[in-house]
Amino acid sequence: MAVYGGAERSLLVIIFDVHPCQKIITNHQHRFHQVLEAVIAFSNGHLLMKPDNRLAIIGCHSGASDYIFSDKDYAVVPTGINDGQYELFAHVEKCIRKNIKQFLSKMSNNLPAGESLLAGACGMGLCYIQRMKRELPIGDKMNSRILVLTGSNDSASQYMNYMNVFFTAQKENVVMDVCTLEHDQGLLQQGCDITGGAYLKTPQQQGLLQYLMWVFLPEPPLRKKLVLPPPVKVDYRAACFCHRQLIDIGYVCSICLSIFCKFSPICTTCHALFKTPGPPPSKPKKKKPKM
C-alpha cells in the first residue's frame, strides 16, 4: 500500500567533537566516558520518540571527521543479550561504541595542531541530510536538525566555512543546535540564531544528559510549545578574511563583500583593485558648509 503524506519523521545528526585537547576530556579521566554515555542515551531517546526517527552521528577532531553512526548501520544485528532493552537501542549502543573506538584508534599520534573541524563535519552532516531527503519515500516529510556537541575553544579560523554551513542550513531548513560543554562559542551561536536552533552552554557537566533531554530532544516544531531557555544575546561580529580576527568595524570589498581589518589595495578574494583610501570621513562634512 503506498501511503502518502502520512509519516512525519525527524532526522538528527549529532556532530560529536572528540578532540583530545578539550579541557573536559583532559581534566577528568572519566569525563569523556560520561559524555559518550550521554550521547548514546540521548540518541536512543531520539529514536524512542517516533518509530520513523532517524539518527546519524559524525565524530570529528582536528585531523578528520567520520561517521560514527549512519544509515549503513541500520541493519539491526541482534546483540544476543536479552536484558529487556529494545533490540534497536541495544544495537545502536553497540554500534556507537564500536565505531567510536575505531575512530579514536585511527587518530594519529601527531594530530595537526588547531581546533576540531566542526565546520567540515557540519558540512558532512548537511550532505547526509540532503541525501536522506532524496531517498525519502514520496510524500513523507522530514524535519532535520544538526546538534553540535563540543568542548572546544572559540576561534574564528574557520569563519568562512562556518558561514557557508550556516547559510546552507538556513536555506535547506535545517535547524542547528549547539551544546557547548566548556566555552562560549560566538560563531556557533550565530549559526543557531541564523537557523533558529537552540544554543546552550551547560552550566555543569554532571547533568549533561538531562540538559540534552530538556533542551535538544524536542523537535523544532514542538519547541515553540515548550518553555525553553531564552535565546542569549548573539555576538554578531564578523571575522576579517586576512587575520581571522573578530572585528567591530572594518573594510568591506564593494565587489565581493569580503571583510578586512586593514585597508589593502587589492581584494584578496576577488582581486579587485582599489584606489588609495579616500579622504577621511571628516573631510566631506567640512565641504558641505562651503557649498
Binding site: M1, A2, F89, D140
Partner: protein, 496 residues
C-alpha cells in the same frame, strides 16, 4: 425532538411537537433516542492503543507495565508533549509539583497541557502524590518508570523470545515474508466479502469475525455474512485492520484461558522485532505457542514448520502499533486513479479490490487487469446507507492512489470529487437532534415573551415561535426555567 434546518421545515416540526402537548399545562419530554438510532449510524470505532488501555482494569495495566516492551509501546503512543514530560521526570526520584510541570508549556498551550495531563493520569503513567509542603505533585508509576528505563538502557531480566544467533539455512527474505503476510491477510478479507476463495480460513478466525461483529450468521442458513461494520472494516488500511482485528481477538483471550498481559506483551514484542530475522520459540509457554499458531494463521508471523522452533515476524505484526505515521508499509502498490469526471480506474486483478471499489462506485467495465467505475450520487449514497462514511471513501481512494498520481504531487483526488462526496454525505445530515422540553399554551403574549427572554438569556432556548407562543428549552435548562416560571406566575394559573 426533531428539527430541520430551514425555517419552513421547523414550523412543521413544531406542529408535530405541539400536537403531543395538547394536554393542558403539561410539559412534554420527547425522547429522541429512537429517531436518533435510525438516522445516525455508528461509525466503526477503531480504538487506538490509548483508548484500548484505558478500558482495562487498573491491575491489568499494572501487570502490563511490568513488561518493558509494553512501556515502550505506551510511551510511543503518548502525545508529543507527554513524551517529553515523561522523559524529563524519568530520572527524577521524587514527585514533581504539578505547578512546575504546568510551567513547562507556554501559556497559550495550556489547553494541550491539560489534555496531556489527563492522558497520562488515565493511563496510570503517573499518579497524584503529595510532597512536603502540601503541594499537589505528579509521581511516575514506579513499575512504568523502572521498565521504561530498562527498555531504553537495558539491565532488566530476559523475557520472551530470543533471536536465533546462528543464521537460518533456509532463511526467508523480506520480500517473501511480505508476500506471505499479504496473502494470508487477504484470505481473511476475501472470506469476508464472500469471494470464491474460501479455503484456508479456520473456524477460529470465523469465530473472531463473528465476535467482532464484522460478520453475522445469516438468518436463513446460518452461514456468516458481512455486516455494516464489516464494510467499514474493509475500507480501513491494513495496519488499522490488523489492529482492530487483534483487539477483537484479545477480547476472547480470557475465554481461551490465556493471559491477556502475556499475549499483549508478546504482540508488542513482535511489533518491535526485526523484519527478516528469525526468532526462537524456545522458552515460550504453552498458551503463547497456541497464540503464535493463531498469529501464524492471520499472517502476522511466518513459520515454515509448526514444530520448527523458529518463526519470522512479518510486516503486519511490525506495523501494528503505528496507527498514524505509516511509512514503510508493505509491497502493495497503489492502483486507483480518480479523474475529475467522477471516473475511477482501478488497475487490479484482485476480486477483493474490485469488490471494494464496487462498494461506492457504479462499475462500468471490467478488464483482465483493470476495472472502471463512476462515482454517482446513487452509488455513494448506497455506500453511505450501508454505514460507510465519506471520510472513509476519500481515505480509501487517497490511500490506494496510483503511485504516478502521488509522484505528481498535489491533491491525489481532485478536490471537486472529494468535496462532492462530502456534500453527498451532508445531504443526509439535514436533521439535528436535540433533546428538549416544550413549553406551550401560554395564556398571554407577555408571559410568553418574559419566559422566552429568560430562557435565551440562560442560553437554553433551542427554538421558539412567537405566533404560536411555543418554545423549546434544553433539558439542562428546564429546571431553571421551570423555577423561574413558577416564581414569575405565582398565581394559580401556572403554565408548568
Amino acid at each position: 425532538m426533531v428539527f430541520l434546518d430551514s425555517e419552513n421545515d421547523s414550523s412543521s416540526a413544531s406542529q408535530s411537537a405541539s400536537r403531543h402537548s395538547n394536554v393542558n399545562n403539561k410539559v412534554i419530554d420527547l425522547e429522541d433516542s429512537s429517531a436518533n438510532g435510525i438516522l445516525r449510524h455508528k461509525a466503526l470505532q477503531c480504538a487506538n492503543l490509548y483508548e484500548y488501555l484505558i478500558t482495562l482494569p487498573e491491575d491489568v495495566i499494572d501487570t502490563l507495565f511490568s513488561y518493558p516492551i509494553i512501556c515502550l509501546a505506551v510511551y510511543r503512543d503518548l502525545p508529543d508533549i507527554g513524551k517529553h514530560y515523561v522523559m524529563r521526570v524519568l530520572f527524577v526520584e521524587q514527585p514533581v509539583p504539578q505547578a512546575v510541570i504546568a510551567s513547562w508549556v507556554g501559556q497559550e498551550y495550556s489547553k494541550e497541557h491539560t489534555e496531556v495531563v489527563e492522558v497520562l493520569s488515565k493511563l496510570k503513567v503517573w499518579q497524584e502524590a503529595s510532597i512536603p509542603g502540601g503541594l499537589p505533585a505528579w509521581a511516575l508509576n514506579i513499575t512504568f518508570k523502572k521498565n521504561l528505563k530498562v527498555a531504553i538502557f537495558g539491565g532488566g531480566s530476559s523475557w520472551g523470545c530470543n533471536p536465533n544467533m546462528e543464521a537460518d539455512t533456509k532463511a526467508r527474505d523480506v520480500e517473501y515474508l511480505d508476500k506471505y503476510a499479504m496473502e494470508r491477510w487477504e484470505c481473511v478479507l476475501h472470506y469476508m466479502v464472500g469471494s470464491q476463495q474460501q479455503e484456508g480460513i479456520s473456524a477460529d478466525a470465523v469465530r473472531i469475525l463473528l465476535h467482532a461483529g464484522l460478520m453475522k450468521r445469516d438468518d436463513d442458513d446460518g452461514s456468516p455474512v458481512i455486516t455494516r461494520d464489516g464494510f467499514q472494516f474493509l475500507l480501513l488500511d491494513t495496519p488499522a485492520q490488523v489492529w482492530y482485528f487483534m483487539l477483537q481477538y484479545l477480547d476472547t483471550v480470557y475465554a481461551r484461558g490465556m493471559d491477556l498481559a502475556q499475549c499483549l506483551a508478546f504482540l508488542f514484542q513482535l511489533s518491535f522485532s526485526i523484519l527478516g530475522k528469525d526468532y526462537s520459540t524456545e522458552g515460550l509457554s504453552e498458551s503463547l505457542l497456541t497464540f503464535l499458531q493463531h498469529l501464524r494463521e492471520f499472517g502476522l508471523v511466518y513459520q515454515r514448520k509448526r514444530k520448527g522452533g523458529k518463526f519470522y515476524p512479518t510486516r503486519l505484526a511490525l506495523n501494528m502499533t503505528r496507527q498514524k505515521g505509516k511509512s514503510e508499509i508493505s509491497s502493495q502498490e497503489g492502483f486507483v486513479i480518480v479523474e475529475s469526471n467522477y471516473r475511477v480506474y482501478a488497475y487490479t486483478d484482485s476480486n477483493l479490490k474490485v469488490a471494494l471499489i464496487g462498494l461506492f462506485t457504479e462499475l462500468l467495465y471490467r478488464f483482465p487487469n483493470m476495472c472502471v467505475g463512476t462515482l454517482t450520487r446513487d452509488s455513494v449514497c448506497m455506500a453511505l446507507r450501508s454505514g460507510i462514511t465519506s471520510e472513509q471513501i476519500i481515505r480509501f481512494l487517497t490511500l490506494h492512489a496510483h503511485s504516478l498520481l502521488v509522484a505528481k504531487g498535489g491533491p491525489v483526488i481532485p478536490p471537486t470529487i472529494s468535496d462532492q462526496i462530502r456534500l453527498w454525505e451532508k445531504e443526509r445530515d439535514r436533521f439535528n437532534f436535540t433533546e428538549g422540553i416544550l413549553y406551550s399554551q401560554f395564556l398571554s403574549h407577555s408571559d410568553f415573551s418574559v419566559l422566552r427572554d429568560y430562557a435565551s438569556e440562560q442560553n437554553c432556548l433551542i427554538w421558539h415561535c412567537d405566533k404560536r407562543r411555543t418554545m423549546v428549552v434544553t433539558k439542562q435548562g428546564h429546571d431553571d426555567v421551570k423555577k423561574f416560571w413558577k416564581k414569575h406566575s405565582k398565581g394559580p394559573i401556572s403554565n408548568c
